[in-house]
């Protein structure tokens, strides 16, 4: 508990410090941002809530050492979106922003994740080559389909790479629902997910259906990543999966502490990224990655400060 309290205070101070630094560097823009906060309310909340869910999944992804699965899932989702647009263009349907697009993306991403979950333990496949295969086949197919639907490329790009600024209320509600599902699944099944990830051979001998547990976990990865793509974009999502979880796991003394610290950072890094993007008119996704990098660099101080404070 002492450790969790220390880490929580440490990362809260960094969060507050980065807010104050922004204010100090650009006071007028900061005041404008704060005065008009209602305008940014939806993208901020979507980033915060979505980031929290993605960071929680990031802990599982890092513990399972399947970081590049998130790229394969994102690529699978992209292929699904291209596929729906291609079918739409074939039958002259107007499909952008429709549920069909999300379902298509989700279906192909699930397919990629399920393929990986089922084949990863086979001796004839190495995990990295399997991820490479999924990534490269999806990318190739995306280029082929993209070649046939050039007129919708702007819509597809928007769906694939996201735009934190253009978050509609329905996107926010959708993000709340998906993050809610991730949190509820974590609360009820965290032990099964952790055990199946840590030592599947032993848990199989105790009667656990570890393949099913991991499949369920991968389905959550897919859902979280696919829905996060629209509000953050592929690269920031990847950063939100890796960085908070990496910082949280690195010096963790307990599993609960790991999840709490990762979720805390997952919630506030997008908010800070959005804030800095507004202050200096930088692209939001890149700012989000910059803030995550600052957290990563400042986390190096954690163990030194901890030694001083916890000794006292």
């Amino acid at each position: 508990m002492k450790m969790l309290a220390f880490r929580f205070i440490f990362y809260s101070i960094i969060t507050l410090g980065l807010f104050l630094l922004g204010y100090w560097l650009a006071p007028e823009m900061s005041q404008e941002f704060l005065q008009n906060w209602k305008l940014w309310q939806e993208p901020l909340l979507a980033g915060m809530i979505g980031g929290l869910g993605i960071a929680l999944l990031g802990v599982y992804i890092l513990l399972n050492r399947v970081v590049f699965l998130s790229l394969a899932i994102a690529q699978g989702s992209g292929l699904g979106i291209y596929f729906v647009f291609w079918v739409g263009s074939f039958w002259a349907w107007h499909v952008d922003e429709s549920l069909w697009v999300f379902s298509g993306g989700l279906f192909f991403a699930m397919l990629a994740a399920a393929l990986f979950a089922l084949l990863r333990r086979r001796e004839s496949f190495s995990e990295s080559s399997l991820l490479g295969l999924i990534y490269v086949i999806s990318s190739g197919a995306m280029i082929l389909l993209g070649d046939r639907i050039t007129q919708a490329s702007h819509d597809i790009e928007h769906l694939l790479f996201g735009s934190v600024v253009a978050v509609h209320p329905k996107d926010l509600y959708f993000t709340i629902a998906i993050t809610g599902l991730i949190l509820v699944s974590h609360i009820f099944f965290r032990r099964q997910f952790l055990y199946a990830s840590a030592d599947p051979t032993f848990l199989k001998s105790r009667g656990m259906n570890t393949s099913f547990c991991l499949l369920l976990l991968y389905a959550l990865f897919t859902l979280g990543i696919t829905s996060g793509l629209k509000i953050m974009g592929a690269l920031p999502i990847f950063a939100m999966i890796v960085m908070p979880a990496f910082i949280a796991i690195k010096r963790a003394r307990s599993i609960q502490e790991t999840f709490i610290i990762a979720m805390w950072m997952g919630a506030f890094i997008p908010v800070l990224g959005y804030y800095y993007s507004y202050l200096f008119a930088f692209p939001t996704g890149a700012c989000l990655i910059l803030i995550a990098t600052l957290f990563l660099l400042l986390s190096i101080l954690e163990s030194e400060i901890r030694k001083v404070f916890l000794k006292k």
Binding site: L63, D199, S205, R206, S254
Partner: protein
């Protein structure tokens, strides 16, 4: 004494390719079975077959009704990324009961501490599992297998990371638990001399043929030489049997 496991012409292997000749055995509850063989002889495949993770090529095996297992792996599979405490790793062994009990509740804590005491790891209960030495980790994994008080304990080359001093204590502990809880033990080992004096029955997996049965039946020079395809000598000493490979 009732049989806890019955093998009937069981032949193990992968992808239709047999790794053993047909095995017959009636393994009695409360006794010890040793599975011995060289590298690639099929020891781990036999273990995974008995755990229901690999299908037999032919024949069948039958566990007594209600049997559940405690399994001690050859090496620790828990990645050092996991910040699990020693207590948390032990409580993994209580799956599925731990889902009902909760890991911080009395029955699971009392049992975990009782086992930690026996494996001489009580002072380390709050340490992170990843911070233990290889031998200490192996002890915790042994403790984890015992948490659910299973009727059968399966060990995959358990001596790999145990120092000589703890090996003696390990056997003493197993024998105590065996009589206390009427445990049936199955040990997989490549070095026959490490287990031969502690088992009641043996399955010997050779490069081309296999044999199973009571220790006295299997441990005969001609049989051992025939199955293992190597010249050897069976020594009967005061401390027990020793097999010298020539």
């Amino acid at each position: 004494m009732k049989n806890i496991l019955t093998l009937e012409k069981l032949q193990i292997g992968y992808a239709g390719q047999a790794l053993s000749s047909p095995l017959d055995l009636q393994f009695k509850a409360g006794t010890t079975l040793g599975i011995v063989g060289g590298n690639g002889a099929g020891k781990s495949t036999l273990l995974r077959t008995l755990l229901g993770q690999v299908r037999p090529i032919q024949g069948r095996f039958q566990w007594a009704e209600g049997t559940h297992f405690g399994y001690v792996p050859q090496k620790n599979e828990i990645d050092d990324l996991f910040p699990f405490s020693v207590l948390e790793v032990l409580q993994m062994g209580l799956y599925p009961q731990v889902l009902k009990w909760g890991k911080g509740t009395e029955p699971s804590l009392v049992r975990a501490r009782e086992i930690l005491q026996k494996i001489e790891m009580l002072p380390h209960e709050k340490k992170l599992f990843r911070e233990l030495s290889g031998g200490q980790k192996q002890r915790v994994l042994l403790g984890r297998a015992l948490m659910a008080r299973p009727p059968v304990l399966l060990f995959d080359e358990p001596f790999n990371s145990l120092d000589h001093g703890f090996r003696q204590k390990f056997w003493k502990l197993l024998k105590e638990w065996q009589s206390e809880y009427h445990l049936s033990l199955i040990l997989i080992e490549h070095d026959i001399n490490l287990i031969i004096n502690h088992v009641d029955q043996v399955i010997l997996l050779g490069p081309h043929q296999s044999i199973s049965g009571e220790k006295a039946k299997v441990l005969q020079q001609e049989i051992l030489e025939g199955v293992l395809e190597t010249p050897l000598h069976v020594h009967h000493e005061d401390a027990g049997i020793q097999i010298h490979f020539l």
